[in-house]
Amino acid sequence: MAFIKILSKYLKSATEKVGVNPKATYAVVAVACANAIFKPLSTMLDKKEKPETKKYTALREFLTECVAVPTYIACGQVAEKFANTFKDPQKAKVAKANLNFIGVCTAAIFVIPALCSVVIKPMTDMIYHRGDPKPQPAKVDAKSNVTFENQAVTKPELMSDYHKYSFASFRNGGLKV
């Protein structure tokens, strides 16, 4: 009972804080955290898919949300800073809330897809290739000057369809499908 009382006390102060200033960041971060749990879970519960594919998809989904949470917070905070340019305190208060919302929307539409295009693929590669043998440097036949590429690097079958994305490719081509 004591635990519930302490919990409800903290919950009360948190609820009051949300009531005073319901920032857009709170809602989107909460939804992203729920996505990080439920999306991979529902993927892993899919019985029709291969286990390897399920693991890879769930990992991508989880990493995406891991990128999204700090991005939402950072974009909201950065946007809020511009409210200091307003001298009138009342206008500054309104601008702070509005800019936080605009920052979060910008993160959702532009920043997170861009970051995911750059970050997710190397991260999944790193996790998937942790136990793989390191590729040997290319051997050069001195006589014929022919370079033989080492074929030791193996990718999981399902990953072979993915292209390595860079920010430049995102900028030029948009979100890859």
Binding site: S8, L11, K12, A14, T15, E16, V18, G19, V20, P22, A24, Y26, A27, V28, A30, V31, A32, A34, N35, F38, K39, S42, T43, D46, K48, E49, T53, Y56, T57, R60, E61, T64, E65, V67, A68, A83, F86, K91, V94, A95, A97, N98, F101, V104, C105, A108, I109, F110, I112, P113, C116, S117, I120, L158, D161, G173, G174, L175, K176, V177
Partner: protein, 196 residues
């Protein structure tokens, strides 16, 4: 209207103080933005682009409708009932039976609030004063219930509902998978799910 006036607009401020509106607008923007990104991609054939963009649009719209149309209102309605059990001594949850009653009270002027409280006191034989009503807690409870509703609606329920619904609708609209489409539906899904 300048950009600066948008930043200080009371109308925009009204929207940003409502969690359900925040989540709705953000999801709506995603529903436009994500298919837009897919259409911008030059490395896939047009048929695949159309299919993926339409699928993403339908998925986001389903999420929006299920979450804001069903889940959030249910949570909002139940919020004061739960709060009454959690905070038994709080006058705000005793004086107002539903969140709508509290919202109506909150929008009143100071004089009107006094009149409303006098009416409540007369009906329920209580003696509430305006300072007894913790408006921040009441407002916070509404917003927290909206956040919890959005979490469950957008993350847990909507994907389950939309998956069996989206594919037949796409077929009905005449959208078929293009040649460049990944072999399995799951591969297609994982490529589309790269954004939060």
């Amino acid at each position: 209207m300048t950009i600066g006036s948008i930043f200080t607009s009371p109308a925009v401020y009204g929207v940003t103080q409502n969690t359900a509106a925040q989540v709705g607008i953000e999801t709506g923007l995603k529903a436009i933005g994500r298919p837009g990104f897919i259409v911008l991609d030059n490395n896939i054939d047009s048929q695949t682009k159309k299919y993926s963009a339409m699928k993403e649009l339908l998925f986001q719209l389903t999420c929006l409708v299920v979450s804001l149309g069903v889940v959030v209102p249910v949570f909002k309605k139940g919020s004061f009932g739960i709060a009454r059990k959690l905070y038994k001594d709080e006058a705000v949850f005793k004086a107002f039976k539903t969140s709508d009653e509290f919202k109506a009270y909150r929008s009143l002027s100071e004089e009107q609030k006094l009149e409303k409280l006098a009416e409540i006191n007369k009906n329920s034989k209580t003696d509430y004063k305006p300072e007894d009503i913790n408006e921040h807690l009441g407002k916070g409870m509404i917003e927290v219930s909206s956040i919890v509703g959005s979490m469950l609606g957008l993350s847990a329920l909507s994907p389950m509902i939309s998956r069996p619904f989206v594919r037949p609708v796409l077929k009905l609209c005449g959208f078929e998978k293009g040649e460049g489409q990944p072999a399995s539906e799951k591969e297609e899904k994982k490529s589309v799910d790269t954004v939060a």
